[in-house]
Amino acid sequence: ADMTIGFSQIGSESGWRAAETTVSKAEAAKRNITFKIADAQQKQENQIKAIRSFVAQGVDAIFLAPVVATGWDSVLKEAQEAKIPVVLLDRDIDPAGKDLYLTAVTSDSVHEGKVAGEWLVKTVAGKPCNVVELQGTVGASVATNRKKGFEDGIAGASNVKIVRSQTGDFTRAKGKEVMESFIKAEGGGKNICAVYAHNDDMMVGAIQAMKEAGLKPGTEVLTVSIDAVPDIFKAMAAGEANATVELTPNMAGPAFDAIIAFKEKGTVPPKWIQTESKLYTQADNPMAVYESKKDLGY
């Protein structure tokens, strides 16, 4: 299709985000679409600016990976007035803005947390289990949702308890630092049965911290995290990580298809195109998954 699409990307704060950008570009190239990416460096105001400038440039469609759920009404209205369809990628916005975008291609981050929680409940099978949680950035909606989802997931099991919860800012370094202090605070780690991290990067850091403290992640301490970035599969292959829930970086592919169908045939897509939240464990041939993922730009 011969069109120009502007993508207001949040930034490049993690490997997953980089992969999403890379994959989106590749998907655009496959479809011969001119794809303009504006990097907002984690700031909503920059995203709004970017959307305005896309409108000013007269692009054919706008993709938006919203950094927050609220505050898009007026700028999306401008896009609507300019008759430019908007597709949300990866995160949803506040329900009040439903009629302002064409469709949202996202995963359900509450659901992701829930999958992780349910896996843990199933794995410990009734044994008492103290969980420490590495949260994402305070205030980030993904962090809030993954926390909520996990709590929902373990709600039914009174044997599984979250004993400590701190933010690791979604980063490896902070994940490691926070895990180190968890280990100290929980009697050298002997009281910790499982670690839940809101993303894999923090978990990779936490695994290092456990190893340095003489603990055996993957066996003594269970791990479950979210995103499914290549490095966690390496850890799984080495038996140091147990489970991860996939968040696919290919949100743009379905979005392009929806836009093309909409532009060419007028097909109105469903309001929500949900991506799969697939659970991977050591049983899923982690090395093969690693190989398949390692060149995706993570």
Binding site: S12, E13, S14, G15, R17, A18, A19, T21, T22, Q135, V138, R164, S165, Q166, T167, D169, F170, T171, R172, A173, K174, K176, E177, V178, E180, S181, F182, K184, A185, G187, D201, V204, G205, Q208, E212, A213, G214, D231, G297, Y298
Partner: protein, 336 residues
């Protein structure tokens, strides 16, 4: 005569002590130290180990600030050098890796120094340029991914230990000693303080203020490079997106807690490093306390303010005033 405490550094050392005690209160095992794989292991060690990058940054930053400058780019330089180190680690020998990473830091510092000293751009904007672009350069090197490595040599710089002390702590102490030797063993320290205190007078007294300015930024770049190497070595990978993010603020905070004025002049490298450990002690304490993370910043704000108020010249003046009153009333008592 009232007994006077040594003025320099008392406040900082007391502050560090108090925070450590507070940590011990929120976490009774805080001072427990055991040996694990030939390396000391415990929360107290964590404070120094985790504080190492900011301490390294503050060693360079304190010199820059003493010259009436500021270096906002150190976080980005950390990311660049960490990225270089991590991407070369598995294909090159450690000396090559270190030379490349430190060389990059040196170049970054040179760039800052030239902008400030030769083009006459105000330091905060001059270094802002590299703060913005530098992060981009780091991401360019890693292409936005987390580049991991397995080289045990480089890993040793982050996770190894020398005589039981974690390598980052040893590197920090080494860098501090080297810097002290360079600025206090020569007249550079005096010249930096003079230039920071009164640039015009110093230039008229024949001090090569430009050269020193450039040198100081270069040193800051080197310190940042070392911090970046340590940060990469610690997580066995380079996270160009997040390495050193906002650490420039921590480094500046450390310098100021260490008693160096942002308007230049007198400086103390030692106390800047103590300042860095004060910040880390506070962070570690917050992590150990088990408070919900939403409260982190409020706790941090309160602690920073308290430490500063305790250092305030005014408050010191009031205390000294009390001392004078006290001694006066005593001698007055004798006379009558």
């Amino acid at each position: 005569m009232a007994v006077r405490l040594p003025r320099i550094g008392t406040a900082q050392i007391v502050a560090l002590g108090l925070i450590l005690v507070a940590n011990w209160i929120v976490s009774p095992q805080f001072f427990d130290i055991r040996v694990q794989d030939g390396r000391l292991f415990g929360s107290l060690i964590d404070v120094f180990n985790r504080g190492a990058p900011v301490a390294l940054l503050s060693i360079g930053m304190v010199l820059v600030i003493a010259m009436r400058g500021i270096d906002l780019s150190v976080g980005a330089v950390m990311a660049i050098c960490g990225a270089i180190a991590a991407s070369l680690a598995d294909s090159h020998s450690l000396p090559v890796v270190l030379a490349a990473a430190l060389g990059a830091g040196l170049l970054c510092g040179l760039w800052n120094g030239l902008l400030v000293a030769v083009l006459g751009i105000q330091p905060i904007v001059a270094t802002l340029i590299l703060m913005v672009a530098g992060r981009g350069i780091a991401q360019l090197i890693t292409e936005g991914r987390i580049v991991t490595f397995t080289s045990p040599d480089l890993a040793f710089l982050g996770g190894g230990s020398v005589l039981g002390l974690p390598t980052p702590v040893v590197l920090t102490l080494g860098m501090m000693a080297l810097t002290l030797l360079l600025v206090r063993g020569t007249a550079l320290g005096l010249m930096i303080e003079a230039t920071g205190g009164n640039p015009r007078a110093s230039a008229l007294a024949g001090i090569g203020t430009r050269l020193i300015t450039v040198a100081v930024y270069v040193w800051s770049g080197l310190c940042a490079a070392l911090a970046g190497i340590v940060a990469s070595a610690d997580i066995l990978g380079a996270d160009a997106n997040n390495a050193g993010l906002w650490l420039e603020l921590d480094a500046i905070l450390a310098v100021v807690i260490g008693g160096t004025s942002l308007f230049g002049g007198r400086f103390s490298i030692l106390l800047a490093v103590v300042g860095a450990f004060i910040i880390q002690a506070m962070n570690t304490g917050i992590l150990l306390s088990g408070f919900p993370p939403e409260t982190n910043l409020v706790v941090k704000a309160v602690v920073v303010l308290t430490v500063l108020l305790a250092q305030s010249p005014r408050l010191g003046g009031h205390l000294a005033g009390l001392g004078v009153l006290f001694s006066r009333s005593k001698s007055g008592g004798k006379r009558r």
